[in-house]
Symmetry: C2
C-alpha cells in the first residue's frame, strides 16, 4: 500500500518519463535535467522549472523566520536555472494556504520573495491562490533564458578525464539544519552563518554564467540531494565513473568547528548533506583551472 515510499521520487519521475512521450519540435530538453528547455526568442533558449516548499517537509513555521522562508521559496528555483547556466527572468507563485494564516507572517514571506526577486531581477508575473486545511504549500514556477549559442549544460555531458568541481562549501546547509532543529539558542547564535546557509541558500547564478560562457558542454547540476547523490545523477546520465578524493573536498572552518563539537566526521555532511544549492560540475583539467580562476575573480 505504500507505493510512493517504495519507488521514491526518482522512481516516480522515471515512471512519468516512460509514460509520457514528447513530440513537440520546439522542445530541446524534456524531463531529466534541472530545467526543461524549449525554443525561445531569437538567440535564446527558454528554461522552465518548478519546485515546492511544503510545511513540515521542507520547513517548520516555528523554526523558519518567514522572511528567509520567502527568500528560500524563490532561491531553490533560481538555483535550477543557475544549474543550466541561465539567467532567471520570471516567476509564478502558486500558494496553497490555510485561511486562518496570520497576515504578519504571510507579509514577511512575501517580503522575502520580493527581496530575492529583486536581487536576481526576477519579475513575478502570475500565480494562483488556493485554500487548504492542512500543510502550507508554496509552489514556484521559474522561467529563465540561456543563449542558444552556448551548448546546454546537461547532466549527461561528463566525459572520462574531466575533473569534478563544486562551488562553496557543500554540507554547511545540513550542519545548519541540525543546529536549527536540535541546537540551543547559544549554538544558533554561534553557528549563525551555518544556519543562514540552510535557511537562505544563495543560488549560484553568477557562477553558472561563467560556466555557460566558457562555451564548453560541461555537465552541471545543483547540489540539492547531497554531493554524492547529485554527482551520481551526473555519472548515471553520462555513463561515467568518478573518484572523489576526500582531501580535495572543500572543508569550511564552520563545518570543521561543528564536526569537532558534535564529534562527527566532517565529510559526512559534505558528501551526503543536501539543500546547499551549490553548483557541481565537470570540465576538462585545463578548462577547470580557468573556470576556477574566473569564478574566484568575480
Amino acid at each position: 500500500m505504500s507505493y510512493l515510499d517504495e519507488i521514491g521520487e526518482f522512481g516516480f519521475i522515471e515512471r512519468i518519463k516512460e509514460m509520457f512521450s514528447v513530440s513537440s519540435p520546439l522542445l530541446v530538453q524534456g524531463i531529466g535535467d534541472d530545467c526543461a528547455v524549449f525554443e525561445g526568442r531569437e538567440g535564446w533558449h527558454t528554461l522552465v522549472t518548478c519546485d515546492v516548499q511544503v510545511e513540515e517537509v521542507h520547513f517548520k513555521m516555528e523554526l523558519f523566520p518567514p522572511f528567509l522562508l520567502g527568500r528560500r521559496i524563490l532561491a531553490v528555483n533560481i538555483s535550477d536555472v543557475a544549474a543550466m547556466g541561465g539567467l532567471p527572468r520570471f516567476a509564478l507563485l502558486s500558494f496553497v494556504l490555510r485561511p486562518d494564516l496570520e497576515e504578519k507572517w504571510l507579509s514577511e514571506v512575501l517580503r522575502g520573495i520580493k527581496a530575492e526577486a529583486e536581487r536576481f531581477k526576477v519579475d513575478i508575473i502570475g500565480g494562483n491562490l488556493s485554500r487548504v486545511a492542512g500543510s502550507l504549500v508554496f509552489d514556484v514556477t521559474l522561467i529563465g533564458e540561456v543563449e542558444s549559442e552556448h551548448p546546454l549544460l546537461l547532466r549527461s555531458n561528463a566525459r572520462v578525464g574531466d575533473l569534478v568541481l563544486v562551488t562553496g562549501y557543500p554540507g554547511e546547509a545540513a550542519c545548519g539544519l541540525q543546529i536549527i532543529l536540535e541546537g540551543s539558542k547559544e549554538e544558533i547564535t554561534r553557528f549563525e552563518r551555518l544556519c543562514r546557509r540552510c535557511l537562505a541558500p544563495l543560488p549560484r547564478v553568477e557562477e553558472g554564467r561563467v560556466i555557460a560562457e566558457s562555451g564548453h558542454p560541461c555537465a552541471l547540476i545543483d547540489v540539492s540531494d547531497g554531493l554524492l547523490q547529485d554527482l551520481s545523477h551526473i555519472l548515471e546520465a553520462s555513463g561515467a565513473g568518478a573518484v572523489v578524493h576526500l582531501e580535495s573536498l572543500p572543508l569550511s572552518e564552520d563545518i570543521r568547528s561543528f564536526a569537532r563539537e558534535k564529534v562527527v566526521d566532517p565529510f559526512l555532511p559534505i558528501l551526503s548533506g543536501g539543500e546547499d544549492f551549490e553548483l557541481l560540475f565537470t570540465a576538462p583539467p585545463r578548462l577547470a583551472e580557468k573556470l576556477k580562476a574566473e569564478i574566484q575573480r568575480r
Copy 2:
C-alpha cells in the same frame, strides 16, 4: 486573525500586484489576465499559467473517479491558454502526495493526464514530487503560444457597444457538482452528462483560436468563477458596464430538467455556477455574428 478569509483570493492577487513591480522588457502581460505573456520565438508570444487542484477543496477522492481527475488537472490549465486564444504546448506537473497513496489510484490519475495531454498535443516536460501528511495537491504549469501578429485577447478589451457571448452552457458544471455531492446513484446515472461537465470540463481551445484568428482585440476570459463574476472581471478591467438579458442566456435541456426537479431557478447556476471553463467574450455586433457562425461551423 483570519486575514485570507477577509481579503479573499482577489484581494490577495491585488496585494501581490501592488507589491511586486515588473521591469523586464520581455514581459508583454503580467499578473491580471488568464495567462502571463512574454516574448517568444519569432512570430509568437509565450503564454504561461498555473492552476492547482487541492483535495477536499477542488475534489474528493471518494467522489471523483481518478481518471477524470487527471483529465481535469490538465484541463483547467489548458482552459487558461484557450482564454488567451492560444495553443497549449507544454506542462510541468508538481505533485504533493501522501506516501501511502495507492498505486492504482495514482496510475489512473496519470492515465487521465495522459489522455488530456494527447488530446491537446501537450508535452509533459518537467515537474516535481513532494510528500505531505495532509491534503493532496496537484499543481500544473501550462505553457502555450499565440501568434504575436494577433492582438492579445485581454480582459480589458471590451468596448461600449460590444455584444457579450459565451460558449456552451454555463451552469452545467455547478448542477453536476450538486448531483455528485448530494444526488442518489439513480440521479448520477440520469444526469450523467451534467456530472461529466463538472468532473471533466472541456477546454475550448478551438473556440479560442477562432476568436484569436479574427484579428480583433476581443475581451476574453474563461468561466471559472461563474458567468456574472467573470463578466465583472472583464467589465472592471475594461471600465465598462453590461446588460444581461436572461432570455438570451443559453439554457440546456439538462439544466432545465435539473432545475424543474430540484425546484430551483435555472438562471441561478447559469449566472453564478463556476468551473464550467466555457469562454466568455465580447465583440462588436457584426464580428459577433461571424464568430458565432464560425464557432458553430467547426
